[in-house]
């Protein structure tokens, strides 16, 4: 009986590993879709291609929510990794909140359709680049947390690096916005979008800080 229980535990474990991998894939894909969506918006505005990317991120977000709920339910219902499940739950919820930020930012572009002057497009793209790089690195660090804990640090320092780069670009961009001859309403509008994108990098850094503690707790 104990042997058949163990076998079914190994089967369930394998399925759950697949779900966690899928969760990470979705977050990584959302980052790529977000980056592409902003590029499309800057080039063509709120075009059908942009809407398509927005729907893709929406769908990924709702799929990822379902995955997260399923993973959390199984971790608790089957008392898996009892000493770390609280940390895993925290990690997944924080990673999921990054996806919510992507979705929120794209809805913002779709609803508010900010008018971004062409000479600022490069800075916005650069900001999106830094933010999505930070997310890519936190996804790699999180994958390592599950599979190869010693490699977590290899990715974490990059998250910090890209977050700082994003901060630099956002400060520079905000300064340009407020030094320009645009009217105040547009300045505030553009600045709000800079903050929205920069928040993604900040959240990635917050997750990295928590992940650093979870990693210390799991090291031998």
């Amino acid at each position: 009986m104990a042997v058949s229980k163990q076998l079914s535990l190994f089967r369930r474990t394998r399925a759950l590993e697949g779900e966690i991998d899928e969760f990470m894939d979705n977050l990584s894909q959302s980052a790529l879709a977000f980056k592409r969506a902003v590029q499309i918006y800057l080039a063509d505005g709120c075009s059908p291609e942009f809407q398509e990317k927005l729907s893709q991120v929406n769908e990924l977000e709702s799929q990822t929510d379902d995955l997260r709920r399923g993973i959390e339910r199984q971790l608790y219902a089957q008392t898996l990794i009892p000493e770390s499940r609280g940390d895993v739950l925290g990690l997944l919820e924080n990673l999921d909140s990054i996806l919510n930020l992507f979705e929120g930012a794209l809805w913002g572009f779709s609803i508010e359709t900010p008018e971004i002057p062409e000479d600022m497009h490069g800075d916005y793209e650069s900001l999106v680049d830094q933010a999505t790089h930070a997310v890519e690195c936190i996804v790699l660090a999180s994958r390592a947390f599950f599979r190869n804990i010693e490699a977590v640090g290899d990715h974490m320092h990059k998250v910090m690096f890209f977050e700082k780069e994003a901060d630099k670009v956002s400060t520079k961009l905000k300064r340009r916005i407020f030094e320009s001859k645009l009217d105040l309403a547009q300045k505030l509008h553009l600045s709000h979008f800079v903050e929205t994108i920069d928040n993604v990098a900040d959240r990635a850094e917050d997750v990295a800080d928590r992940l650093a503690i979870y990693t210390i707790k799991r090291q031998f």
Partner: protein, 350 residues
């Protein structure tokens, strides 16, 4: 079986029950406390393997206790076991860590003093020496095993969930080995004093297999230990987790394995024969304290990690238990024998 015989055996059964209630936690405590294994699974495995260990390999350590003092009447054995059980109860009530091993040795020495039988000093010093060495060996095994496990895990790069599943399986197997070793090593504490005055006849079954009278005693003692495991060990297991040092499931596996290896080494006649056949020095077959083996293993892990998280007052009370337990058991046995002989008119020695 006569009622008087059953009555005299009852103190040994009580001692077995308390051993099961307390020491099952050394084998499965952290795993159950951390919810890695269900109590029902742990209790079932523990009960079965304790009985197997007791019946198959309990003779070696019993022989050593017999050399220390061969209690030759059932009434004397009854009082020795009762004194050990009472000391375990009193010390547990006082909140001191206690070992049935040390209690029974104290009680046997108490019987020797009462019956004016000379204690075999060589055997006594072997037993005392083993008690000191046992936690040290457990600590060394724990450190070696821990390093091996860390090396293996850093190379294997298992997913956290798969590692968790393997750890559960490993904890079940280590628990089974631990329960077997506990039965083999500690059954002498429970039934050893009854062996010289055993009320049973050898049973021979078809094909030459069978149970000696000592094995029948060990089977009954094993059942008493199993009863202790099934009825009372759950609450001990649920509180054992944070005793000395908070343990991760992998560290818990290492502690259980180190503990089980030590108990096995000090109980295995097979290993003794193997060493003898290669003209190597043998390991004395001595009942050792399961709790102190675990304490040694956990301390080994704690010291390897820098020793910051070790709760030293708990270590101090364990050392105090080493001294106090045999003394209390010896005194209780001496006084008890006096009453049994002079008030109840029982023959406590020949």
């Amino acid at each position: 079986m006569e009622f008087a015989t059953l009555f005299f055996l009852s103190s040994g059964l009580f001692l077995g029950w308390s051993l099961g209630a307390n020491d099952a936690a050394n084998v499965f405590g952290t795993a159950v406390g951390a919810r890695m294994i269900r109590f029902s699974t742990a209790a079932m495995i523990c009960s079965i393997f304790v009985i197997i260990g007791a019946v198959m390999s309990g003779a070696g350590t019993t022989h050593t206790l017999g050399r220390l003092g061969a209690i030759d009447t059932l009434a004397g054995a009854f009082m020795a076991a009762l004194a050990a059980a009472t000391s375990v109860y009193l010390m547990t009530k006082a909140g001191l860590p206690v070992s049935t091993t040390q209690a029974i040795v104290g009680a046997i020495v108490g019987w020797n003093l009462f019956s004016v039988t000379e204690t075999d000093h060589a055997t006594l010093s072997t037993i005392l020496g083993t008690w000191l060495i046992c936690p040290l060996i457990a600590a060394v095994f724990a450190v070696l095993l821990y390093r091996l496990v860390v090396l293996f895990l850093s190379h294997a790069q298992l997913h956290m969930l798969r590692r968790d599943a393997y750890t559960r399986l490993a904890l079940v197997l280590a628990g089974a080995f631990g329960a077997y070793s506990l039965g083999a090593n500690n059954i002498a504490n429970v039934m050893g004093v009854f062996v010289p005055a055993s009320p049973f006849e050898d049973i021979v079954l078809i094909g030459g297999a069978g149970l000696t009278s000592a094995q029948q005693l060990f089977l009954i003692g094993g059942l008493a230990i199993a009863a202790g495991v099934l009825t009372y060990s759950e609450r001990v297991m649920m509180t054992v987790g944070g005793g000395l040092l908070p343990l991760s499931p992998i560290a818990a596996w290492v502690a259980v394995m180190a503990h089980s290896i030590v108990l096995f080494l000090f109980a295995s006649r097979g290993l003794q024969h193997l060493l003898l056949s290669y003209d190597l020095p043998t390991i004395p077959l001595v009942p050792v304290s399961s709790s102190q083996a675990v304490v040694g293993a956990v301390l080994g892990i704690g010291l390897m990690q820098g020793g910051r998280t070790i709760r030293w007052p708990v270590v101090g009370s364990v050392v105090l238990g080493w001294v106090v337990t045999p003394v209390v058991a010896g005194i209780v046995c001496y006084v008890g024998l006096f009453f049994l002989q002079n008030v109840f008119g029982q023959e406590v020695y020949l």
